[in-house]
């Protein structure tokens, strides 16, 4: 019944403007004809150039001097930075409300850790602008346009190019070099969301404002050492409004090849912070922590491809272990007392490309509540979120399909037991498209 109206409306929409635009059409045809002419001329020129390339060679015995930067376009626009844009979105369903997400037994990190919202939704659109500044520096901006219509600066940093001696200095806001996945942008992850350990211990990822110095050893074995100081903008630190750094970290990575088919990297990282009044509210009770936070991460990644050729099949194994110790004072409602915790978590994930374009992946997450003690006499009944002795787990499976290296569609299913005694079944379909300059992906 209504369908008929729709057809009529659609037809009218298609025909009426077409008639009205007859004049424009002929203009378009003319433009097209001109374009075709231009293409033909260009083709002719290319052929001439190719013929010349061959001839000049035969004529001159010594190789001709290189044409300065063959084929580079000129003009002031040649200095425009590389711009690329990531478009993402998903359709998701989950058996529990994503807005009530929490990880039982762990202090909330305040980061973007909730599962994808239900129904159809836009993900973060990531805009990358990057370029060399001069022979000494390069700069990069990574901005996320959130579905809530906000702009979030994920990264804005400069990096030295000419320090030499294996040193590189970075300053600004950047993804910290600790762990493995932390430095990888979300659109390049093998799963739509972060491992539970990243959610619980780093609020999804660590991108503080600070400075980083890295040194690469002059050896054939990859040995990299790095240190960072930061303002403490994000979990587990707090911005303490004091002179000097509020968080610091050191990390080391070692890597190499095994034959032609295997490349690997392993590392150890440490993040130290002294949060003050790191607050959250649970079940109506305001709680806050002040003291010291120490986090260790051991990470490992291994990539395999037959004879190093990843085009047809390849395999990636990745795992990280987190261990955190916090000690200091806990304020619960109006009372205050000692508090200390030793908690850990890990994940192991694998992704396998079994034929061109298609990959399957599996991830297992687990967090260990460990030991949490307090001097306030609180029990799990008083502060269930902090004190419930519960070990969250999650199983995630995914299959993704990449028509080209610039478009990817992913189906992901997770059985998430982050909340004590509750199982959340999460299903989502995601798209990731990249436009613009050809990005390069980290190992």
């Amino acid at each position: 019944m209504y369908a008929k109206w729709w057809y009529a409306a659609a037809l009218a929409g298609a025909i009426v403007p077409a008639q009205a635009q007859d004049a424009e059409l002929s203009k378009l045809r003319e433009a097209l004809r001109q374009l075709q002419q231009q293409v033909q001329e260009l083709e002719k020129r290319v052929q001439e150039a190719e013929a010349k390339g061959g001839k000049s060679q035969e004529a001159a015995a010594p190789a001709p001097p290189p044409p300065a930067q063959a084929g580079r376009s000129g003009g002031s626009s040649a200095f425009n930075p590389d711009i690329s844009l990531i478009l993402q979105g998903s359709a998701a369903r989950s058996s529990l409300d994503p807005n009530t997400y929490q990880i039982t037994g762990f202090a909330p990190s305040g980061g973007e850790v909730n599962p994808a919202p239900r129904s159809l939704n836009l993900g973060e659109s990531e805009l990358f602008i990057t370029s060399n500044v001069d022979p000494y520096f390069r700069g990069q901006l990574a901005a996320a346009l959130t579905p809530q219509n906000e702009i979030e600066v994920e990264e804005a940093f400069f990096q030295t190019l000419a320090l030499g001696g294996g040193f590189t200095l970075k300053g600004g806001r950047f993804l910290s070099g600790i762990g493995y996945q932390n430095e990888i942008h979300q659109h390049a992850w093998d799963f739509q969301d972060a491992p539970l350990a990243y959610k619980a211990f780093l609020g999804g990822r660590l991108n503080d404002d600070g400075a980083q110095l890295r040194w690469l050893a002059p050896t054939d074995l990859f040995v990299e050492l790095g240190a960072e100081i930061a303002r403490g903008r994000s979990f587990p630190a707090t911005d303490n409004n004091k002179n000097g750094a509020n968080a610091w970290s050191v990390f080391g990575h070692v890597g190499g090849d095994v034959g032609e088919s295997v490349a690997w990297r392993g590392g150890l990282s440490y993040l130290g912070a002294s949060p003050q009044d790191r607050a959250f509210t649970a079940l109506g009770a305001a709680q806050s922590f002040s003291g010291d936070s120490r986090l260790w991460i051991a990470d490992f990644v291994l990539k395999w491809a037959p004879q190093g050729n990843a085009s047809t099949t390849n395999f990636k194994l990745q795992g990280e272990y987190f261990r955190r110790e916090e000690s200091g004072a806990l304020t619960f409602d109006t009372s205050s007392g000692d508090y200390s915790s030793r908690q850990s978590g890990w994940y192991l994930q694998a992704a396998y490309q079994f034929m061109p374009r298609w990959r399957v992946g599996y991830r297992y997450d687990r967090l260990d509540h460990g030991t949490v003690t307090n001097g306030l006499g609180l029990t799990a009944q008083d502060a269930p979120l902090l004190l419930t002795d519960y070990n969250p787990t999650r199983n995630t499976a995914m299959v993704d399909w990449s028509l080209t290296e610039f478009s990817r569609f992913r189906l992901q299913y997770a059985v998430d037991r982050s909340r004590a005694d509750l199982t959340d079944n999460q299903l989502l379909l995601q798209y990731i498209l990249s436009l613009g300059a050809h990005g390069a992906h980290r190992f």
């Binding site: 290319v46 015995a61 084929g71 030499g164 054939d220 890597g255 610039f406 390069a440």
Partner: protein, 297 residues
Amino acid sequence: MRPFVTAMLLVLVSPALAALNVVACEPEWGALAKELGGDQARIYVAATALQDPHRIEARPSLIARARSADLMVCTGAQLEIGWLPLVQQQSGNQKIQSGQPGYFEAASAVPLIEKPSSVDRSLGDVHPDGNPHIHLDPRNIERVAGALEERMAQLDPAQAGHYRERGKAFLARWREATERWETRAAPLKGMPLVVYHKDMSYLNNWLGMRAVGALEPKPGLPPSTAHLTQLLDQLARTPAVAVVRAAYNDPRPAEWLAERAKIPAVVLPYTVGGTEQAKDLFGLYEDTLARLLAIAK
């Protein structure tokens, strides 16, 4: 303890001092640097002939080698855009940054063909500066050799004479071989071929062979059944002599088409190391010609 530390330092540092440290992005440039540098160049090649040069990983071992490189020899023209920038950034080595003498782009010594008049990703993974697979035309090798020899002499002035002498000897042998190959390859002129990717264009251009189809529907996209079927129909009307692919290409699409079109599928080494015979640049051309001549009727 002290002697031990000194010894360790020597072990760590001495290879870097012994010669010009060259990291080649592709095997062909590693082989060329070896011809020009001889024992004065310590060469590390980022990729093997069985790896797709577009898709090398910026893996730790490669970054570690780039850290100590005096010279990085790459193709350029955006062939390595998916991985080389990361290697340069993470190497902490100012010598091999773009624009420095320690970063050598072979493509800038060569007139590029197939420069697209418009660039859009709907055309596939096109290279805006032109086709970067330049090394399968011996005249390009000659051009690059001249420029590379100069660059090596500039970076290592103490050994400049050595590089120039070797360069001269190499070019003399190379020109002689090129003439020989051109005579031998005469029967290949006009031979219609189906290629996998546009990585044989310079070879076709040099020998006057014709690519009548490509297994990739668009540059950089893996062959699809739909496209192969279409190609098979097309071959019924305009036949080709063979389906050729590089050693690093997936063999299955080429075999699928060759079997149905009843023409041979030929593996070409594509670069040094692609076949057992392609041990160096001379072997690469000898073997490529031998394999093509075997199917020419």
